[in-house]
C-alpha cells in the first residue's frame, strides 16, 4: 500500500472512531427531550459526562490529520463549506457549554435554556456532518484553482439533505442503543421505544439514500458498480439493523449496541469507499478532482505522520477503552456529576 492510500485509510479509521464514539453522545443530545424530570435529564447528560470530551478529540485528530496529510483537499473542502462549518462550530461550542453549565444553577429557566441548547446543537451538528458527507459523495464544484466556489444553496441539494437526515437518524439510533444500557426504569422503557423507532427509520432512510445514489448520482453509482463489496457494506448495514432489532426485542441491549456500533462503522466505510481515491470529487470536471495523490503532502511528511499515527492511535484506542471501562454500567449521580 502506498502512503497516500495508507493515509486515506487512517483518516477513514479516525472518522469511524469519531462517528462511533461521538455518534452516541450526539445521539444522547438528540434524544434529550425524552427525559421528563430534571433527574432524568441529568442522567442523560451524565451518561456521557466523563466521555464526550475524549470522544470529541477524535474529530480534532481527524481534522488535524486531514490538514497534515492532504492540505490542498483540506483547504478546498473547509473553505468551500464555509457557511455550514460556521454553523457547526457554534453548535459544538454551545454543546460543550450546555453540558458544563446546565447543572450550575437550580433555576428552572436556566436549565431549560441549556436543555434546548444541548438538543439543538447536537441535532444541528449531526445534520451538518451528514450534509457535508453527502456533498462530497455527490461531488462538489472544485474548479481549476483547486478550490470550491459555490453558494449555500448548492450545498443543500436533495441528496446531501437526505444524507443529513440519515446521519441524524443514525446517531439518534446509536445514542438510543447506548442509553438503553445506561438507564433504568421508566426512562429506559422510553429509550427502548425510541431505539426501535430510530432503527426502523434508519433502515428506511438508508435504503432511500442508496436508491437515490444509484439513480441520481452518476459518479457514486459507477463506484458502486466497480466495487461490489460496497453493496456488501450496504447490505450488512441493513441486516445488522434488523439483527439489532431482534436483539433488542429479546432484551439483549449489549448486542443491540454492538450492532449499532458496527452499523456506524459500515456507514463510514461505505462513505469512504464511495469517495476513494477522491477526497473532493469535482462535479465540474473529473480532472480537477482532489484525490489522495494530487492533494497529498510530501512523502517525508506522510512517512513522519505514519510513525506518529502508528504510535499515537493505538494509544488513543487504549485510552478510550480504559475510560469506557472505568465508567461502564448504569449512570449513578454523585457529587462530581453535572
Amino acid at each position: 500500500m502506498d502512503l497516500s492510500t495508507f493515509w486515506f485509510c487512517v483518516l477513514g479509521f479516525l472518522l469511524a472512531g469519531y462517528a462511533v464514539l461521538d455518534g452516541y453522545d450526539l445521539g444522547v443530545g438528540i434524544l434529550h427531550p425524552i427525559a421528563k424530570t430534571d433527574e432524568e435529564r441529568r442522567i442523560l447528560m451524565n451518561s456521557i459526562g466523563p466521555l464526550w470530551d475524549g470522544n470529541e478529540v477524535w474529530l480534532v485528530a481527524f481534522g488535524a490529520s486531514f490538514f497534515a496529510a492532504f492540505p490542498d483537499a483540506y483547504a478546498a473542502v473547509f473553505s468551500g463549506f464555509y457557511a455550514p462549518f460556521m454553523l457547526l462550530l457554534p453548535a459544538l461550542v454551545l454543546r460543550a457549554a450546555s453540558l458544563e453549565f446546565r447543572g450550575k444553577r437550580p433555576s428552572l429557566e436556566w436549565r431549560r435554556f441549556w436543555d434546548r441548547a444541548f438538543f439543538g446543537s447536537s441535532a444541528l451538528a449531526a445534520l451538518l456532518f451528514g450534509v457535508a458527507a453527502g456533498n462530497l459523495v455527490a461531488g462538489v464544484p472544485v474548479d481549476s484553482e483547486r478550490l470550491i466556489a459555490c453558494g449555500v444553496g448548492e450545498l443543500l441539494r436533495p441528496f446531501p439533505l437526505l444524507s443529513g437526515i440519515l446521519t441524524l437518524c443514525l446517531f439518534a439510533m446509536h445514542g438510543a442503543c447506548y442509553l438503553c444500557l445506561k438507564t433504568e426504569g421508566g426512562l429506559q422503557a422510553r429509550c427502548h421505544v425510541w431505539r426501535k423507532r430510530f432503527v426502523l427509520a434508519f433502515m428506511v432512510l438508508f435504503m432511500a439514500a442508496l436508491a437515490s445514489l444509484a439513480a441520481h448520482e452518476a459518479s457514486a453509482a459507477s463506484h458502486m458498480r466497480e466495487r461490489p463489496f460496497l453493496w456488501a457494506f450496504a447490505a450488512g448495514g441493513v441486516l445488522i439493523a434488523a439483527g439489532a432489532l431482534r436483539a433488542a426485542r429479546s432484551g439483549r441491549g449489549g448486542r443491540a449496541f454492538a450492532g449499532s456500533c458496527i452499523i456506524v462503522v459500515l456507514t463510514v466505510a461505505l462513505f469512504c469507499g464511495l469517495l476513494y481515491p477522491d477526497l473532493a470529487p469535482s462535479s465540474l470536471d473529473e480532472a480537477w478532482s482532489l484525490d489522495a495523490w494530487n492533494s497529498a503532502s510530501s512523502q517525508t511528511t506522510l512517512r513522519l505522520m505514519a510513525a506518529i499515527a502508528l504510535v499515537g492511535i493505538p494509544l488513543a484506542v487504549a485510552y478510550s477503552i480504559f475510560m469506557h471501562l472505568v465508567f461502564r454500567g448504569k449512570v449513578e449521580l454523585d457529587q462530581t456529576s453535572y
Binding site: D53, G54, A64, S65, P71, M86, K104, I308, M323, T336
Partner: protein, 459 residues
Amino acid sequence: MPDVAVLSRIQFAMTIMFHYIFPPLSIGLSLLMAVMEGLYLKTGDRTFERMARFWSSIFAANFAMGVATGVVMGFQFGTNWAGYARFVGDVFGPALAAEGILAFFLESCFLGVLIFGWDRVPPKVHFFSTLMVALGSALSAVLIVAANSWQQTPAGHVIVGSGALAKAQLVDPLAVLFNPSSVARLLHVLPGAYLQAAFAVMAVCAYYVLRRRHQDFARKGFSLGLGLGLASALAMPATGHLQAVVVARTQPAKLAAFEGLYTTRESAPLSLVGFPDDERKELRFSVEVPALLSLLVHGPGGGKVAGLEEFPRADWPPVFLSFQLYHAMIALGMAFIGWMVLSAFMLWRGKLFKSRLLMLGSVAAAAGPYLANQLGWCAAEVGRQPWVVYGALRTQDAASLGVPAGQVLASIVMFGILYLCLFAVWVYVIGTKIENGPDEAVEKNDNGIGEGGKQRLPA
C-alpha cells in the same frame, strides 16, 4: 465592505484571543493540582485533598471552554485561511496532527477520570490520571508553540513551486521542531501559563482569607501558588531576554518595531515609554536608557541594532501597536516580580495573611497575567506582520479569497455574540464555584441539587 483577508484577520484575532483565556490556566492548574494531590498522598493531609478536588472542578469548567474554542481554531485554518493551509500544510500540519493524536487524546481521556473518577478509581490511579492530564497539556503546549514558532522563524523546509502554487515542503522534522525561536518561546509561554494559574489560586485563597472562610485551605493554597508564581515571575525576564535576542537575529524588523527604533544605531538606547510616529520616523516623548538595547542584544561591548529604515515600508509591522503591546507586557511582567517578592517577604515575616491590603491586592492581581499573556501573544503576532510565515508568505495571500466577505462578516458577528455570552456565563459559573467554596465540592452535591434542591424543582 473590507476585503476577506482583513475580515478573516479580525475573526482569527478575536477567536484566538478568546481561546487563549483558557489554556494557560489549564496548563498551570494541572501542574498545581498534581502537586496538591501528590502532597495529599504523601502526607495524608486532607486539606490537600480538598484543594485538589476544589481546583479540579474549576479546571473542568475552564478546560471545557478551552476545548470548545480550540476546535474552532483548528477549523479556521481551512475555512478562512485556505491559502495558508495549502502553503504550510506539509510542515505545520504534522505538528497540529501530533498535538491531536499524542497530546489531546491523553489529556481528554484522563481528564474524565480526574474530574469524575474521585470515587470510582483508587487514589493512586487517580493521581496517575492527574499526572497524565498535566503531561498532555504540557505536550500540547510544546507542539503548538513549536508550530507557531516555525511561522516566526521558518526552518527545516524548502519552498517548492512558485506564485499561488508555492508551498513549503518538509525536509528536516527536528529542524522544524527546534526552529530558532521555539525553545526560547516555550520557555516564556510556560511560565506565563504558570503565572496565570498561580495568581488565580492566590486570588481565590486571598478572597477566603478576607472572608475568614476555609482558613487552613486558603493559607496552604496561597503558599503553593506563591511558590510557583515567584519562580515563574523571576523566569519571565530571563526567558523574555532570550527571546528578544532571537528576534534581533531572526526578525530584525520586528525587534525594531518593538523598540520603536527607526534609525540604525551603533549604541541603541532602550526606550521605557514612547510614542512611535511613522510619518516623522521617530519615537516621540520617549524615556530612554542609553546604549542598553545594544547591550542586551549583543552583550558587553554592544553593537549595531538595525532600525526600521533598513527595511522596505511594505515589510514593516504596525509599529505603534507592536511597541505599545510589547511595552505593556514588560511593564506587567515587572509588576508581577514586585508583587511576588513583596508577598513572599511578608509571608516570611508572618504578616501576609494579616494585611487586608495585600489580600485585596492579590484578589485584583488575578487579572494581571490574563492581560499580560494576551498582550505578549498580540505583540508576537502583530510584530510578525505583514507576514504569516515570516519572509515566505504574506498574510494577505493566505486567506480564503473565494469565501464571500458577507459570510465572514456574518460569522464574526455570530462568534462575537456567542463568545460574549459564554464569557459572561463562564465568569458567573466560576464565581459561583468560588463562592460555594471547597467544602461544597467535596461534601455536597456540586449541582446544588441535594435533598433541598429536589424540592425546589417540580418533577
